[in-house]
């Protein structure tokens, strides 16, 4: 097969006030017709720049400083404006990270699809649009075509973007983190869809992602990037099983494996962080973070990409080091727990009034039930995970416990006190400092104009010791920073001058100021890179080990939950559908919803061909089981009409379903008939 796209020694510079900075450095890549290639690396490594360079779209400050990109042998830098438009619309198409912002908010989906072709007959245009939407498995193309982007769900928006990209039957589809902002169950659907379309149209696909599990399912070949350079390439299976570069091995060690747990196998985050492009190490760019770096060699000799049968690798010690043995863990992890109940919520219900539409609603507001009778218990020193798709009510529950909202009915007992209807401002100071929250996006939760020291000392005054002298408070800030493994000079910096991972550590340090007994963490790592994610989780667990903190971990990342949780609550549409110890919950029999969530976990090992793709949420459930409209194991009418009974297969493992544990166990032991 001939090369469809070939990138030769591509160097891209961005113009900044400090002069040009290299974002991509002599990068080469070859994509053949129908091939699927993955491009992996931390954010800032240059992978998106490569994707945009392929589209010849580097903005006003980006410039190709060397090398060339050939499409079918033609240098795309030489294309005339007219030919460039045909190339972008016709030969290569792109799918973006955030479908919400990639679609024009003031045009309907149909209009945005229709404008790509120059056919003037409106009837045939409408038919083509409908076909395109049907091809990306959108159930009601007519409605979606007439809808504005904000009226569509994230998954539907991404399907529209994909439909748009495919309209002109491109030879190459570039996907830049296409599912990062989507729920796991929706992600599974999009990934499957791209696979189907790729096979049907025989196009080549370039997948840009930091999610190795995802890449594994979709790509035949991988390129790992670090600090603007390719550092390892090879076949996906080989590269994930026997990585040859220490960085690739490090990325893999950051991921929780299916049968690992915090008690047995700690995660191994890569130490340090990506060097900024204007201060790159002189020789091997990874050397300062590398556990295998040999002084005198790795910091003086710049390694080159060495080709071999198994792919290429940029490491001078590639043949001497053995990456298969994991570094020994420093200490036997020991998590002190007792049976004291720290949080007990019973029958928590929360409804929100919806905006008024129409006259009748002036008098009878419609209400959205975000929590519908939730019971949860968390004991001292325990990690309790609450999982579910977005809209399942898990964040609402966290906000109720934290007092950012108050419950409509039900009780939430925190350390012996019912606080269900006490907003955080009215809570006792001791209770406030003992229950702290870590939020999803550290960019939004730190004040951009206050230094780190100022934000942490404020928390010390408000939550810890209000009477400390200025110097004692400074010492306390330093202690908290070292607790979250940040160097002391971070104290004087502004949030803008920190990386995402560092910011999240600062917000954890702030939460720790009052020595809390309970930490509520709402997706604390989901906005972060894999390597940083591992470090943040590791830090939270470290805090828990030392202080016996109770951790309530809200997440949709089931791989991580399986790794760190002691007990898990699975929420669906405001209700807990299954709960129990992590071991029981992650083995059959499970609730059909849990089963679907589990099957959607992209993993880097183990079989990956049994995914259950759920239809998108949306249909309002009847009076019966809330999951019935989407349930692949729906038994009959009883699911729609009767609320399912709570069943208790063993211990404190329970779920609500009309099927008995034996029934479910038998069906789930067999290969799923829905799987592909």
């Amino acid at each position: 097969m001939s090369a469809l796209l070939s990138i030769r020694d591509l160097t891209v510079h961005y113009r900044t006030r400090r002069g040009p900075i290299p974002a991509v450095d002599r990068f080469s890549l070859e994509i053949r017709e129908g091939d699927s290639v993955g491009l992996v690396g931390e954010s800032g490594c240059g992978k998106s720049t490569v994707a945009l360079a392929i589209m010849r779209y580097l903005g006003t400050n980006g410039r190709v400083a060397g090398g060339q990109i050939l499409f079918r042998g033609r240098d795309i830098a030489t294309l005339s404006p007219r030919a460039l438009r045909d190339y972008r619309g016709g030969e290569v198409a792109m799918v973006y990270q955030e479908p919400t912002s990639a679609l024009n908010p003031s045009m309907t989906a149909g209009q945005q699809l229709a404008e790509t072709f120059r056919d003037s007959d409106p009837r045939s245009v409408r038919a083509t649009v409908r076909e395109a939407l049907a091809e990306v498995q959108i159930g009601d193309p007519e409605r979606v075509a007439a809808a504005y982007p904000h009226q569509l769900s994230g998954g539907q928006q991404q399907r529209v973007v994909i439909a748009m990209a495919l309209l002109s039957r491109p030879k190459l589809l570039v996907l830049d983190e296409p599912t990062t902002s989507l729920d796991a169950t929706i992600e599974a659907g999009i990934i499957d869809l791209v696979g189907v379309l790729q096979r049907r149209h025989g196009m080549a696909v370039l997948y840009v992602s930091h999610n190795l599990g995802l890449i594994r399912q979709t790509c035949r070949r991988l390129v790992v990037m670090y600090a603007g350079q390719a550092i390892e390439t090879g076949d996906t299976e080989r590269l994930l099983v026997r990585p040859r570069h220490p960085y690739t091995a490090g990325l893999l060690a950051c991921l929780p494996r299916p049968n690992s747990h915090k008690q047995r196998n700690p995660l191994h985050p890569i130490v340090g962080q990506l060097p900024p492009p204007h201060a790159l190490p002189p020789a091997c760019r990874f050397a300062p973070r590398c556990a295998f770096a040999s002084p005198g060699r790795c910091d003086t000799l710049a390694p080159s990409l060495v080709e071999s049968d198994a792919g290429s690798v940029r490491c001078i010690r590639a043949t001497e080091i053995d990456l298969s043995i994991p570094p020994p863990s420093p200490e036997e992890p020991n998590y002190p727990t007792t049976n004291d109940v720290v949080i007990a919520a019973r029958g928590v219900r929360k409804t929100f009034a919806l905006p008024i539409r129409g006259f009748a609603e002036l008098f009878r507001r419609r209400r959205l039930t975000a929590n519908d009778g939730v019971d949860i218990v968390a004991r001292h020193g325990e990690t309790v995970a609450v999982v579910g798709e977005s809209g399942s009510g898990k964040t609402t529950l966290a906000r109720l416990i934290a007092g950012l909202d108050t419950a409509s009915t039900g009780e939430i007992v925190v350390l012996g006190e019912d606080v269900a209807r006490t907003p955080v401002a009215d809570r006792r100071a001791a209770l406030r400092s003992t229950l702290q929250m870590v939020f999803q996006d550290p960019n939004d939760t730190l004040n951009p104009s206050h230094s780190v020291a100022r934000q942490i000392s404020r928390a010390i005054r408000k939550l810890g010791s209000p009477t400390l002298t200025a110097s004692a408070r400074r010492a306390e800030v330093a202690r908290l920073l070292s607790l979250v493994r940040l160097p002391p000079d971070v104290a004087s910096r502004l949030p803008d001058q920190l990386s995402g991972g560092q910011r999240q550590r600062v917000s954890i340090a702030r939460a720790l100021a009052g020595s809390p007994q309970v930490l509520l963490a709402d997706e604390p790592a989901s906005a972060l890179d894999v390597s940083v994610q591992a470090a943040v989780i590791d830090l939270l667990l470290d805090v828990q080990r030392r202080a016996g903190t109770t951790l309530v971990y809200i997440s949709h990342d089931l791989a991580m939950v399986r790794y760190l949780a002691d007990r898990v609550y699975v929420m669906y549409r405001g209700r807990v559908v299954e709960s129990g110890p992590v071991g029981a919950l992650f083995a059959p029999p499970y609730h059909p919803y849990t089963e679907a969530l589990l099957s959607a976990i992209p993993s880097v090992d183990g079989p990956s061909d049994q995914r259950i793709v759920l239809s998108p949420a949306g249909q309002a459930p009847g009076r019966g089981c809330p999951f019935a409209p989407r349930c692949p194991r729906r038994t009959g009418e009883i699911c729609d009409t009767t609320p399912p009974p709570v069943q208790c297969p063993e211990g404190d493992h329970m779920f609500s379903c009309h099927l008995t544990p034996d029934d479910l166990g038998r069906r789930q032991a067999m290969p799923s008939r829905e799987g592909r």
Binding site: M55, Y57, T60, R85, D86, Y87, R88, G89, G90, A93, M94, Y96, E98, S101, A102, L103, N104, P105, S106, M107, E115, T116, Y148, H150, V161, M164, S168, P355, I356, R357, G358, F359
Partner: protein
């Protein structure tokens, strides 16, 4: 949407009611001061008492307010002291004059500022962008009276092309309108152009404009169909709010060119303590402000599909 419009109109009425109460209480709550303003400070206490009695000012405040409000709603604002004529007869022609001045200015400002803003915003940092941005800052920072003096110096005294006063003493003359309009345009054009530019720059950097470019659309289509549609929301709102300023805030220009408009009337009324005229002018100015605000709000909703349903 209909509900939103009705809600906005209800809010408008409520605002007007509150303002009317404030105006009434400030100016008419103490009857003796009204008498002094109307029949003069050199009258005796008996004369004032008699006047108050004849004009019904000795009734309770509440009753007087209701009656006052009723007269206002029917367009009867009382008698102007200075002009010795019904306030309505003085007010409406003046407002009409100002409307001509303001709308002429707006007709120049709107297309020019949007065009300049879009040209500047399409390519941030281009030579066109820099020139337009600098020129906008310079013209906007020049106060109206300074540019009025400057323009009059050039076109009236040096070149002698245009008349220096715009009182329209010998009937309507478009040449007298040129300088006041020019001053207003000079002052406001840069501001709106800069708002449009900022909005355009922001939109050009969005992911959906990138999507449109990478779909292979022509540059013209990307700008007209994707960028402009979203970038015009801000200047539309700004321009609507400027109607208010053009109708009731052009006091300096009208005074400078002796133009018989609403702003000059407001000034004259205040200087002469012409109480009924002040009341009427205030209510009209507030109505203009609140109405343009409502218009801006409703327009914003119409332009932004995300707000249409709510």
């Amino acid at each position: 949407m209909v509900l939103a419009v009705l809600k906005r109109l209800g809010l408008l009425a409520a605002t007007m009611l509150v303002v009317s109460l404030v105006v009434f209480l400030l100016l008419e709550a103490t009857p003796s001061s009204v008498a002094i303003k109307v029949i003069g400070p050199y009258t005796t206490a008996e004369q004032q008492q008699l006047w108050l009695e004849q004009n019904g000012y000795l009734r309770p405040v509440g009753e007087r307010y209701v009656e006052w409000l009723g007269r206002f709603l029917t367009g009867d604002f009382g008698e102007s002291i200075r002009f010795k004529a019904p306030v309505a007869e003085v007010l409406w022609p003046r407002l009409w004059n100002t409307a001509i001045l303001g709308l002429t200015a707006l007709a120049v400002i709107a297309p020019c500022s949007i065009l300049l803003g879009v040209i500047a915003g399409i390519r941030e940092g281009s030579p066109a962008d820099r020139s337009i941005s600098v020129a906008s800052i310079v013209t906007t920072s020049l106060p109206e009276f300074a540019s009025a003096v400057f323009l009059a110096g050039v076109f009236v005294f040096w070149l002698a092309w245009l008349p220096g006063t715009s009182s329209m003493a010998e009937g309507w003359d478009w040449r007298q309108l040129v300088l006041p309009v020019a001053v207003l345009v000079l002052y406001d054009l840069g501001y709106v152009a800069r708002m449009t530019r900022a909005s355009m720059v922001e939109v050009m950097a969005t992911a959906y404009v990138r999507t449109a470019v990478l779909k292979g659309l022509s540059r013209a289509r990307v700008i007209t169909h994707h960028a402009l549609r979203n970038a015009l929301i801000t200047p539309f709102t700004v321009l609507t709010l400027h109607i208010n300023w053009l109708l009731s805030g052009v006091i300096v220009v009208e005074a400078f060119f002796a133009y018989k408009g609403f702003g000059a009337l407001l000034l004259e009324a205040s200087l002469n303590q012409d109480i009924y005229l002040i009341e009427a002018c205030t209510m009209v100015a507030v109505l203009v402000a609140v109405a343009t605000q409502a218009l801006a709000d409703i327009g914003y909703r119409l332009l932004n599909p995300r707000l249409r349903g709510t």
